[in-house]
């Protein structure tokens, strides 16, 4: 049987150190103790430092994930990669350009930039390969700083700062609606803008290969941001808003919500829409999570390291009809965490890993690579949250050992042989396996990888509607024409 394929994958990071204070944790802590601002400011990274950070270079495709095994920790002290802004999957965008992109993504005059800053952003965006005159025309002309300061002081606007200087603001969207406050609108605009960046990167890759943006039928936004107003908080639809700014003129779309597991659900739904003959090309997109910026900053400060959650991450994935050249999604072996499985680690692993592999007649050790929650351990360890991917690999290896498919004494080796080091920013839904999809596709096209399993998990219990968690998985299989299969 033939299955839908992954035709292209893109990733983007936007360096937004001055938005860290608007992350949920820093915002709450600063409200209690405004003197923390000084400490936070002193621990923010420069563009060059953040761009050179090895996990970021892996994320945008300039380094393979496995290279991190050999780069000495702490990675934040590493400068060996220079500061290559553009990688094979995407880019690392500076803050000035991203503030401009926020304005471009804004249809309601919510983002207001100071006139001199706006000119600087305009110039930089004009030099950017993905933005043209039509885009920068959306920037407008900017406002005097006095007007912006008045809006911040008297009208409930949220200041946009750069290096301690106010360069713009985000105004509220309604006089009384708490859901349209400036901070929520910034959260949603940050997601939209970063998602658009990933989408434009995606179509830069595919446009010359027969799949321009205009051939996309449907866009699914898999992120967690809640777009709506007081009557329908979280109703959506960011997908169509992103599609509009990315040239997807023949597309509509919707948002799929499943906490961090949203991307895997979305990919499976996208593949199902194609397999069912409803659509030909479906894009799954995920924008950045403003609320997660600086989430572990307390731990980072306590270890005298920079605040590492200073980037908004995004991705876009083009799923299309079966062909002989791209890796396919095995829809006959989707793993899912059904209600009846409950919450034990073994039951979840059996549902997501063992059960689908049994359908394919495979053992756990037959899969070349497992992509799990790929959080960068340098972000989580200093905050006491441990190495999340490593923990997941131990669980998979333990399940394999229970089933007699892996030696008990080699459980620790599973991570290096079938796993990956964590390299994703802790951006909610973004780290959930999908950061490896671009690398896996490239490896499969080169004939270096036959199979990979992508496993996403979601913490449904955080919303107080159920004590359950969730999970979903799929197997990606190399194309028949890859080098390894021709041998």
């Amino acid at each position: 049987m033939q299955f839908p394929v992954i035709k292209a994958v893109s990733y983007a990071l936007a360096h937004t150190p001055d938005l860290v204070v608007y992350g949920s944790k820093p915002e709450r802590e600063l409200r209690k103790n405004p003197e923390l601002m000084q400490q936070i400011s002193e621990h923010l990274r420069s563009f060059e430092q953040a761009c050179a950070y090895p996990p970021h270079q892996v994320f945008i495709g300039s380094l393979p994930p496995e290279s991190l095994w050999d780069i000495p920790r702490p990675w934040w002290q590493s400068t060996q990669n220079g500061s290559a802004r553009f990688g094979s999957f995407g880019e690392f965008m500076p803050e000035t350009e991203f503030y401009g992109l926020l304005r471009i993504a804004d249809d309601f005059d919510l983002v207001q930039l100071e006139e001199n800053f706006l000119q600087s952003a305009r110039q930089r965006l004009l030099e950017h390969p993905l933005f043209g005159e039509e885009d920068v025309a959306r920037l407008g002309s900017g406002l005097p700083i006095s007007v912006i300061e008045t809006r911040v002081a008297n009208e409930g606007a949220l200041p946009l700062r750069q290096n301690g200087r106010t360069v713009g603001c985000v105004v509220k969207g309604h006089e009384e609606d708490p859901v349209l406050r400036a901070n929520f609108l910034l959260e949603n605009l940050a997601c939209k803008a970063s998602g658009v960046l990933a989408l434009r990167r995606l179509f830069e890759q595919t446009g010359g290969h027969g799949t321009p943006a205009s051939t996309v039928d449907y866009v699914i936004n898999s992120g967690e941001e809640a777009v709506g107003d007081r009557y329908q908080r979280g109703a959506g639809n960011l997908a169509k808003a992103m599609a509009e700014l990315s040239g997807c003129v023949n597309s509509t779309g919707s948002d799929v919500k499943a906490f961090c597991c949203g991307p895997i659900h979305s990919i499976v739904i996208a593949a199902g829409l194609i397999q069912g003959g409803i659509f030909e090309n479906v894009v799954v997109v995920g924008g950045g999570a403003l609320a997660k910026l600086g989430m572990k900053f307390r731990g980072h400060l306590s270890k005298a390291q920079p605040i590492l959650e200073d980037v908004l991450a995004s991705f876009a994935i083009l799923v299309g009809r079966h062909d002989d050249t791209n890796p396919s999604i095995r829809l006959d072996a989707i793993g899912k965490h059904d209600v009846r499985y409950g919450g034990s680690a073994q039951a979840i692993a059996e549902a997501l890993i063992a059960a689908p592999l049994e359908k394919l007649g495979l053992r756990i050790s037959d899969i070349d690579k497992y992509a799990v929650e790929l959080h960068d351990p340098e972000i989580t360890e200093s905050a006491g949250s441990g190495n999340i991917p490593q923990f997941n690999y131990r669980t998979i290896a333990s399940l394999a050992a229970i089933r007699g498919q892996w030696l008990r004494e080699e459980i620790k080796d599973f991570e290096r042989r079938h796993g990956l080091p964590g390299f994703s920013p802790t951006q909610g839904h973004v780290p959930s396996a999908v950061p490896y999809l671009g690398h896996a596709r490239e490896c499969m096209l080169r004939g270096e990888l036959k199979t990979a399993m992508f496993i996403g998990k979601g913490s449904l219990f955080l919303g107080k509607m159920t004590n359950l968690s969730d999970g979903m998985s799929f197997v990606l299989e190399a194309p028949a024409k890859s080098v390894v299969n021709q041998v």
Binding site: G342, G343, A345, E373, I388, T426, P431, F461, N467, L468
Partner: protein, 42 residues
């Protein structure tokens, strides 16, 4: 293990041992669960 007569607060973690699994074990040992909270540390 016998936890009869004990009251227990359960703190689970998504990528570790979840609260629902801990609850089943502790109930089987005879204790009363007074609070079951799951956390997500990422």
């Amino acid at each position: 293990m016998n936890l009869s007569g004990k009251k227990v607060i359960v703190l689970g973690e998504r990528d570790g041992v979840q609260g629902t699994a801990l609850t089943e074990c502790i109930k089987a040992a005879g204790a009363e669960i007074v609070l079951n909270i799951n956390q997500c540390f990422v």
